[in-house]
Amino acid sequence: MRKANHWSLLLLLFTSTALLAAEHRSDHLRFGVLPLQSPTKLAGMFLPLSDYLGRQLGRPLQFVTSSNFTSFMEKVADRQYDIIYLNPMLYGRSRQYGYRVIAKVASEPFTGILVVRKKGRINQLSGTSLPPDTRIGFPDPGAFAATVMVWKYLESIGIDVERQLQVQYFGSQDSAILALFNGLVDITGTWRPSLRSMPEVVRRDLRIIAETPPQPQMPIAVRDDLPAEDIERLRRALVELAESSQGEVIIQQLGFKRGFEPANDDEYLEVNQ
């Protein structure tokens, strides 16, 4: 009986996905955001921007995210989104599906950070100083700043992550930070915007112990079949966002410092290498 239910669910999912793909012909442009946070929190951050962009385009934007990075990239591969916001590494993969960067976050350098509890047992990072059973938390294997960049940084300073640390993934930046706060892990890889979005009571107990070298900032890309004038309007709307008081509010809700600035593909070639 349960098996039959599972098959029914799979069939439903299959037909639903097919129908969604077949019928996505509404006026809405779909704005896919990488699931860096919980869907509700992401919606709180990006819905004002979606509304703003929709007004600039004269077409409504639908904010959507996904349950995880893999699922998100599957939809990118399926070209289900018209506009995407993702990390530099995943942008490199999205290019093969016809997405092109139009702007990037104009903010602090795009870095990953390593965070520990102030009263925790980790005081410094080195291959020799870490206790043998040290646990490290990441949001998702595909999280560029929080996982990939931090992983590479740790290896660059002589820490063999696979062997010296017990790695745990918590699905989102928030979950990973809260896992550190609650003592489930000793170190967490994340990035600054997520740490800033934490409540004061959480941030007060945590401290940044290391930061990775910078990489190009988070890009916003569009699918290549969008009309050129729409792409240009989007680019201009993003770049000029910080010039209005309304835009400043939107940037504040995004958790960014300065909004967006122009970007091109060349900046992200090194990331994939």
Binding site: E23, H28, T40, A43, L47, Q62, V64
Partner: protein, 475 residues
Amino acid sequence: MDRHGGWFPQLFHTLRIRLIFSVALVHVVLMGLFTWEAVHRQSQELRQEMVNQGRSLASLMVVASTNALLAEDLASLAEVTRRVGEREDVSYGEIVDVRGYVMASTRDGRVGRSVGPVIKVSEQFPLVKTDRVLDLRQAVLIGDKPVGFVVLGLSTENLESALAATRNRGIQYTLLALVIGSVAAWLLSITVTRNLHALTLAAKRIGDGDLGARVEVRSQDEAGTLAHAFNSMAASLQRNAREIEQEHQKRTEAERLACVGEMAASIAHEIRNPLAALLNSVKLLGDQKLVKDDHAIVTRIVDTESKRLQRILDDFLTFSRLPAAQLQNGDLKQLVEETVELVRQDPRYSGRITFDCRYEPDNQCLFDPDLMRQVLLNLLLNAMQAMQGEGKLIVRLKRNGDRVNLSIVDNGGGIPEHIMSQISKPFFSGRKNGTGLGLSVVQRILAQHTSVLSITSREGSGTEACFDLDRENHG
């Protein structure tokens, strides 16, 4: 409108039916109001509860589906709608994204399609008569920005079934109250009307003359009080009747004695004159000096006065020995014609009196032929004598409802007003040679026919004597 007819059933005039109907009506009205109130109140409570449950369920759907809706996690959304669809009262439940596409639904084949026409706001009771589903809608909001909505349909069939069950129970209780109330009213009416029935029977017996009728008093209630009062009234009536009877007997005896005295005086008065004439004549006849011519005159006087005495005695015997009337149905016209023909032959008035007889087509009525002939003879002869042998005499028969009126009108000299009150007394006569018993005989005979003689007269113009006879026996 006729009190006993028309649209109002005759049966309703009985106290018992009125009592039963009134009590039953009160029961039905009160129970009907109670049932209506109960159904109305329960309806509102159930409807409000349904709305509250629906809103709670829609809110739960919103909470449970917000993240999945934003992440387009169709499996999680499907799980939400599957759980919701398991509820018996849920007709449908759908989660719709901001574009209007169904992301999950309890109905097959809806996912991925446009939701189509859908309510803008949640419905409220009362619904349209044919609508059996309460449609609710709740937006999925992030802050104040909608990212989709949930629509939920709750079937009102269970609600309607519950209300119908309550309504039916109320009707059953109403009918039960109707039966119990009617039976109680019937028993009560028996108790009340049993005493009234006894009172009615006793009243009828008293009406039939049995003043000794009484009601047996059993209860101490109003009916018992009424019965006590009735018995007191009957006893009083009986006492009064007895006193009246005694008084009547005394008066009758006195009247009878007075009548006898009057009769004796009248007879003595009537007889004294002819007897005195006879005595004087006999004395004269014994006188040797009486001449032949005077002897003849005196002899004629003896003859005349003897006959007068004979006639007085005959009339008196007729008056006193009047036989009981044997009433039978007959044609009064025929009797009138025979009597008129008889008096027409009287040589004293032959040819000088004109008779005008007027009849109805049907002149059947109840009378004793022999006695009625006597009545007609007396009245006709009185009229002919009043006309002094000539004039016009009208005899008229006329239908008057269920009676026949006979009137005899003459154009004689009429009766002087000062003797009108005495003409019906025995031995009173307005003529020299009358005995004064003719009208008395007529009155006695008519009394046996349950009728009375009416005399209207104007001096110098004439007199009308008339009376009625029954067309059929009402006794």
